[in-house]
Amino acid sequence: MPKIESEKGLSWKRRTTKKQLLIWLGWLIGVSIIVFAWQLISEKTVWFFVQDAPRQAADIGVRMVPPKWSYTSKLIKPVWDTINIATIGTMIAIIIAVPVAFLAARNTTPHKIFRVAALFIIVSSRSVNSLIWALMLVFILGPGIVAGTIAIGLRSIGFCAKLLYEAIEEIDHSQVEAVEATGAKTSQKILFGIIPQVLPTIAGVAVYRWDINIRESTILGLVGAGGIGLQLNGSINTLAWTQVSMILIIIFITVLISEWVSAKIRYAII
């Protein structure tokens, strides 16, 4: 297309004129939408509060200092709960996600129906936030760690299964073919031809999701599903800002450690 012949000889442009105009039009529409939306938001904002925001933030900031260090002793148990919710939730998710991924991958699914069912599980797990899962589970199971753990697990199944089934679809098929040629059964084909190829992905995804889950489980307490979020919610509601700052520091340290651990594990796998 972009090859142009004229009396001056051959020339070349990246795009045809028509395509270029269409791209400009696309930008024009996009920018107009943003300007329009900005106006809508602006009309519905009470600007007095926004102008007041820096002062309010500074006020809370001052009240947060100094953090109530003595409160730490009461936080150890909730932090431990939080880590357990994330870890056990991730383990449950991986145990369920691996078979789901094999059913969802085009090259390993026994039948299209299984694939559709597996994709449905993945989408429904991914489309609901873990906080909402927790909200529902607290109603069903009552408040506590169990609800939080299952919420984290349910949310993570989709995430893990999706990344895994994409990895299964991208494996080197010739290795599978070679195992098949020896007269191996389908189960052995998966065991020798596919599992070794996706094992690093399984481990990598599990660690990555665990890392995310540590952060997600810190807020589950807001809806009563256990963990440090419970203390955070309580402290904000009672305006105990020095406790809030202490909790934030503890969460920060926990996340920092989890990042460090997951980076180490990922490095060891690859």
Partner: protein
């Protein structure tokens, strides 16, 4: 020992990969299958062990018709056909030993293979084969740590530990340098002779085909256009297989090489 009758394969895309191929291979004969890319060489050997399902025609292995077997019986009979691949197709993240033992998967059950509890005889045989191809020091190395030539030797061991009657070999030297190519081809030849194996070797390199086979079959557009001794590959024949080209240099070189080897 192996007989193909009117073997035909048409892919879903409409490509006619094989058209009425008849071929008979006696016991312990090594044949080279030559032909341009896309002539159907890979399809032909994959239709024999039904990694690719033939559209029509029959394949007989020792008078047993493979083409009509149930998948369970097919798996049993695949054990009698060892396969060696172009890019080695080793399971990269498993060790050399595990790769060789994977050739016994057709003989052991799922849980034994899961726990890697292969019978002692299999393990002994694996050591013997690895020793034979000169990889005794590499047993515990991971497959992706080996060089190309070493990997192909592992591939050969994996095929031989099946204790096959027939070897199906797909471009064994395509990823190897000329010297390693010759060594690998010589090794395959020796092993076929020791074990009285028949073999079909797909190969691009006409010289190698002539040096290391007792019979050459030329495939062009899915049909056999030449079937005869290696020294029958005259410029006319090569033109028929591959198309018009100056073939004199190829053939002369072969004669030089032959003298060196003798």
């Amino acid at each position: 020992m192996l007989r193909l009758e009117k073997l035909t394969k048409q892919y879903k895309t409409g490509d006619q990969a094989l058209i009425d191929v008849d071929l008979e291979i006696p016991k312990s004969q090594v044949i080279a299958l030559i032909g341009p890319s896309g002539a159907g060489k890979s399809t032909l050997i994959r239709c024999i062990n039904r990694l690719v399902e033939p559209t029509s025609g029959k394949v007989y292995l020792n008078d047993l018709e493979l083409t009509s077997l149930s998948s369970r019986k097919l798996r049993k009979n695949r054990r009698r056909m060892g396969m060696i691949f172009q890019e080695y197709a080793l399971v990269e993240r498993l060790t050399v030993m595990e790769n060789v033992l994977s050739g016994r998967l057709g003989y052991v059950g799922f849980w034994r293979s899961y726990f890697r509890k292969f019978p002692q005889d299999d393990i002994k045989e694996a050591y013997r084969l690895l020793d034979r191809v000169g990889l005794m020091d590499m047993v515990d190395k991971r497959a992706d740590e080996l060089s190309g030539g070493q990997r192909q030797r592992v591939g050969i061991c994996r095929a031989l530990i099946q204790n096959p009657d027939l070897l199906l070999i797909d471009e064994p030297t395509a990823s190897l340098d000329p010297k390693t190519s010759r060594q690998i081809m010589r090794l395959i030849n020796e092993l076929c002779e020791e074990r009285e194996l028949a073999a079909i070797i797909n190969i691009h390199d006409v010289q190698l085909a002539q040096m290391f086979s007792q019979r050459v079959v030329g495939l062009e557009l899915g049909s056999v256009v030449y079937d005869g001794p290696p020294d029958g590959l005259t410029p006319d024949v090569l033109t028929k297989i591959y198309g018009e080209e100056d073939w004199s240099a190829t053939i002369e070189k072969v004669e030089d090489d032959d003298e060196e080897i003798i």
